[in-house]
């Protein structure tokens, strides 16, 4: 038993040395993706606290379960976890909404309007920031009207820059489905933003 303990400790020590590189790599990866992941989660759930929780949970799960996988696999795995967490929140909200409506309450989800809810720009806010903010609000509003799978495909491909294969892993579908969802999303978003005179931002 003493020998087993000693071997186990020695192996753990070797593992720890080899893991230093992995630790630095995964920290760099998380630092690179965290802000974009938060923004994607925020677009999907529209709640700052929940978006932060989702990103933290995705980071913890990636680190705990997939840190030993090749770093090239981290982006699709991370976004697969992130999308699963987002869907969990959305499912929970849908159930809560049904329960509330059953008991005669109001479902706040249906009443949410990203434009109306957005804070008004402050007088001292730089013009560039106001412009970006209003353009992003218009995109978010248009995204909110898309079917879930189209919205996921658009955010992963366009915002996060995953390729088709990585997006397929993150979404858990075929590459053909990703292409279809993405193409439909682009056409629909373009139409909606043009209808509201917002196309000038994107040319």
């Amino acid at each position: 038993m003493g020998l087993a303990l000693s071997i186990a400790r020695h192996e753990a020590s070797l593992d720890r040395e080899g893991a230093l590189d992995t630790g630095a790599q995964i920290e760099a990866f998380l630092r690179e993706v965290e802000a974009r992941a938060y923004r994607i989660a925020l677009v999907s759930v529209r709640d700052r606290g929940e978006a932060l929780d989702i990103v933290q949970d995705a980071m913890i799960r990636l680190v705990r379960r997939y840190a030993s996988r090749p770093s090239a696999e981290w982006p699709p795995l991370f976004y697969r976890i992130l999308q699963n967490r987002i869907r969990d929140i959305q499912r929970r909200r849908a159930v809560r909404s049904r329960v509330l409506s059953f008991f005669g309450g109001t479902a706040s989800e249906e009443e949410f309007d990203p434009i109306a809810e957005a804070p008004a720009p402050r007088a001292d806010e730089p013009l560039e920031r106001v412009t970006v903010g209003s353009a992003m609000q218009a995109i978010e509003k248009a995204l909110a009207t898309l079917p879930v799978r189209q919205r996921e495909a658009f955010m992963l491909r366009n915002f996060e820059g995953l390729d088709v294969a990585q997006t397929a892993v993150a979404m858990g579908c075929t590459e053909g489905s990703v292409k279809t969802h993405y193409s439909r999303a682009v056409h629909r978003l373009r139409e909606m933003l043009a209808e509201h005179g917002e196309e000038r931002w994107y040319e």
Binding site: R16, E27, Y38, R64, E73, V132, M136, V186, H187, Y202
Partner: protein, 125 residues
């Protein structure tokens, strides 16, 4: 709409998104940094506990040896009891990550519900 027009649109939305990320406030960035540190801390905890878990198969082997020495001297039990004991030993000696299996089961369960799914499980890790 032409592909060229669409690609201009795609570049534009990406630019707006990147700018909105760059404009994130300091408080949010700080909370994200804290979340990252918590995640990396979780990894350290897993690693610190790993060597202890590596003793489990050794302990199980010793227990199996003791069991064999004790029970091996007795008359042979019925077949059903033998196979149940072997099953227990397999579980004790196995090194599968049950937590990971749980997440994968959840993922494949969800995947099955997708109407457009057709053999995507071959592509996932």
């Amino acid at each position: 709409m032409s592909d060229e027009t669409n690609s201009g649109f795609e570049r534009g939305t990406k630019r707006v998104f990147d700018a909105s990320v760059a404009a994130l406030d300091a408080a949010t960035r700080s909370q994200l940094t804290q979340a990252r540190h918590r995640a990396l801390g979780a990894r350290e905890k897993v690693r610190d506990g790993a060597w202890r878990w590596s003793l489990v198969p050794a302990g199980a082997l010793a227990a199996a040896l003791a069991l064999w020495l004790t029970v091996g001297q007795q008359p042979a039990p019925p077949d059903a009891m033998q196979s149940a004991a072997l099953g227990d030993l397999e579980i004790l000696l196995g090194d599968e990550d049950l937590e990971m299996l749980d997440e994968e089961l959840e993922f494949y369960g969800w995947l099955e519900d997708q109407p457009e799914f057709a053999g995507a499980s071959d592509n996932v890790g």
